[in-house]
């Protein structure tokens, strides 16, 4: 589904990704952990197509296409979704109309008929239950005045409505209270299936108790330096990144 090969990326002259490689197959859940500033959000942004990152080497293939050639919206139409580490507030753009336009843009790109207002509302009602948000949130501007945790839940809600094939969640668990963490994890688990791939960026092993990943990777200095199963997260929790980074250097 997603194949990242020796990816190098920089902002201005600052190198951030240094030969990063990662394979994600259909239906897999990958967790990416790593120290602050190691390039996790950069990876997520490069995958979603944010401007300002120069890709200086390597390739990214998504469902057989050159992902780096595609605009952000084309990636969304093709089924990629990024839950932002810091979701932006957009006053004046209504949450619900944004989602409706998004759903229909995706459907249109696939040659499907667009949902009418009634069908869309039914979809929203169903999905909003997943994240236990009140419906009146939907009539507000995108994330406008939402608390940190509400913003994160809104990201998961949007993901549920847009039904991506590849979801990249950038620290969606940060800043959540214990109940909200559980709600977000349940939401993600609900969407987990054999068709959908998920890349979870997280600092906390705690999330991985709820969403058990198939693979855990350590990203440091712009590269994946170690990969393993879900037990790797437990090991990191105990030992920190130091040891893994030393091992990688030695190798």
């Amino acid at each position: 589904m997603l194949s990242i090969n020796d990816l190098h990326s920089q902002i201005d002259d600052k190198k951030i990704l240094n030969g990063l490689s990662l394979e994600v197959n259909k239906g897999e859940v990958h967790a990416i952990m790593g120290p602050n500033g190691s390039g996790k959000s950069t990876l997520a942004n490069v995958l979603a197509g944010r401007d300002g990152y120069d890709v200086t080497g390597g390739s990214v293939t998504y469902e057989g296409q050159d992902l780096l050639e595609m605009s952000p919206e084309e990636r969304a139409w093709a089924g990629i979704f990024l839950a932002f580490q810091y979701p932006v507030e957009i006053p004046g753009v209504n949450n619900i109309y944004l989602l409706k336009a998004g759903v229909n843009a995706i459907r249109k790109s696939r040659g499907e008929t667009e949902l009418d207002a009634v069908e869309f509302l039914a979809l929203v009602r169903e999905k909003i239950k997943l994240v236990k948000m009140k419906e009146d949130f939907m009539s507000r501007g995108v994330n406008e005045g939402f608390s940190g945790g509400e913003k994160k839940r809104n990201e998961i809600f949007q993901m549920a409505v847009l039904e991506p094939k590849l979801a990249i969640l950038d620290e969606t668990d940060s800043g959540l209270d214990i109940d909200a963490l559980k709600i977000v994890a349940d939401g993600v688990n609900h969407l987990r299936n054999e068709e959908r791939s998920i890349v979870l960026v997280t600092h906390y092993q705690r999330l991985l108790n709820y969403i058990v990943p198939d693979f855990v990777h350590v990203l440091a200095n712009g590269r994946i330096i170690k990969s393993g199963g879900s037990e790797l997260a437990l090991q990191l929790e105990e030992q920190g990144y130091e040891q893994v980074m030393r091992e990688a250097e030695a190798a």
């Binding site: 605009s71 952000p72 919206e73 932006v88 753009v93 944004l98 949007q158």
Partner: protein, 442 residues
């Protein structure tokens, strides 16, 4: 330049005086004198530094002296606000058109009339209120308006009266044999605790070449409340000079919403005097300009008395080679304590060639005063743009949407939904790729 223009308008005045109204002659002549004295403003005047009216003055506009021009039903349809329950006074090329108009019944409490058709009692009132607080010395165009005064609207609500529906004053200009000028004059006088909603629409048709030189005078007596809207949609070749003067007595309130979308060269002046304790003015403005449009908004609020407040938000969206000017002056006079004055002006520049000159001016002669002001100039927010695109919205739609959201911050401040929604549609219609975002406007 300005002398040639003065001579032209003096000759015009002579030509028209044969069939002039007569009854208001004294004021007209004294205004003519004022024009001769002060001339027209030039860029040497600080208040007109960025707005050069020479191209306007060169035109030798003449007045349309017959009122037989009219507007077809179909065109009226596009001008009227669909299904808005309101009264309408329609003026075509400067002349009242009674066939197209629908007025409230006039009586003791409410008196609404066009100036050209005013009866003796209304004429007496007009003479009483005309230039009571506004001045022909404001600038040459204000003087010109009074000198050529022959039509417009007189609105009077007696103490405690409420005009039950909005009054929509529609000033339409269409193609004539030669380019022309009209001088609409509106007087809006509210008695104590009276209430009214007035919309002034200025509309140009058929890409006509003309000038609208309009003056509106407002007086709100104690406790009165006026909602005032000005929608400026002149044609691409039109000049528009507008002067609004408001005098607000104790505990009265004026909410002014000024939306400028059209015109080649546009200048709006709004002067508000808060003359009694507890008076409040809200000034909302939106200007959207593209191509070679030039839109200049000058506002001034005088806090003459303690406990008065003003709240101003102006926003602009500029594309192409458009140029805009914003100047917001707030004067807090001596001993006017406990003043709350807020002002902000934000601008979105959509092209490298667009230009804005923005300047807040505060003059404060009292000490217990809360004043804030700020001006910003910027482009669309890249983070917002990326967020929308990552949610499957194509770039063109996303840009259009964010532009609308920016402009809508002003429209949203309109509390009366039927007008807000209709103005929203006019604003959207003015934005690039409007059809893409209609979905967002239900």
């Amino acid at each position: 330049m300005t002398q040639a223009a003065i001579d032209h308008y003096l000759a015009e005045h002579k030509r028209l005086s044969n069939n002039s109204a007569g009854w208001i002659e004294k004021q007209r002549l004294s205004a003519l004198e004022s024009l001769g004295r002060q001339g027209f403003p030039s860029t040497r005047h600080e208040a007109w530094k960025y707005t050069d009216v020479r191209s306007l003055l060169k035109q030798n506009f003449i007045s349309v002296d017959t009122d037989d021009s009219t507007v077809g039903a179909e065109q009226m349809q596009t001008i009227r606000f669909p299904d808005l329950d309101c009264y309408e006074l329609v003026f075509v090329n400067g002349h009242f058109n009674s066939a197209l108009s629908s007025l409230p019944a006039s009586g003791e409490a409410i008196n609404v009339s066009s100036i050209s058709t005013a009866g003796d009692d209304v004429r007496a009132k007009i003479e009483q209120y005309l230039n009571q607080y506004a001045s022909t010395d404001k600038h040459g165009f204000a003087a010109l308006n009074t000198a050529f005064l022959n039509d417009g609207t007189f609105i009077h609500a007696a103490d405690n009266a409420q005009i039950d529906k909005p009054l929509h004053l529609v000033f339409i200009s269409n193609k004539q044999n030669s380019s022309f000028i009209a001088h609409p004059r509106n007087l809006i006088i509210l008695g104590s605790n009276a209430r009214a909603t007035v919309i002034e629409s200025y509309i140009g048709l058929d890409n006509a070449e003309y000038c609208t030189n309009t003056v509106t005078e407002i007086i709100t007596s104690e406790g009165a409340h006026l909602e005032h809207y000005k929608l400026q949609q002149e044609s691409d070749l039109a000049y528009h000079i507008g002067y609004l003067h408001a005098h607000c007595h104790k505990d009265s309130r004026l909410d002014s919403h000024s939306i400028s979308l059209g015109g080649l060269l546009v200048r709006n002046d709004i002067d508000t005097v808060l003359a009694g304790r507890g008076a409040h003015v809200g000034l909302n403005g939106l200007y959207i300009a593209g191509n070679n449009q030039h839109i200049d908004n000058h506002t001034r609020v005088d806090h003459n008395m303690p406990n008065t407040s003003s709240d101003e938000t102006y926003r602009g969206v500029l594309d192409g080679k458009a140029r805009a000017v914003f100047n917001g002056k707030v004067v807090v006079h001596k001993d006017a304590q406990q003043i709350d004055a807020q002002q902000s002006n934000a601008n979105l520049l959509m092209s490298d060639d667009a230009e804005i000159d923005t300047k807040p001016e505060l003059e404060i002669y009292a000490d217990d005063v809360k004043c804030t002001h700020g001006a910003t100039i910027g482009q669309l927010d890249e983070n917002m743009l990326f967020y929308l695109r990552s949610r499957a919205i194509d770039e063109t739609t996303a840009r259009s949407l964010l532009t609308f959201a920016f402009a809508d911050e002003v429209i949203k401040r309109i509390s009366f939904a039927p007008i807000r929604e209709r103005l929203e549609h006019r604003v959207v219609g003015r934005l690039p790729d409007a059809s893409l975002i209609s979905e967002f406007l239900q």
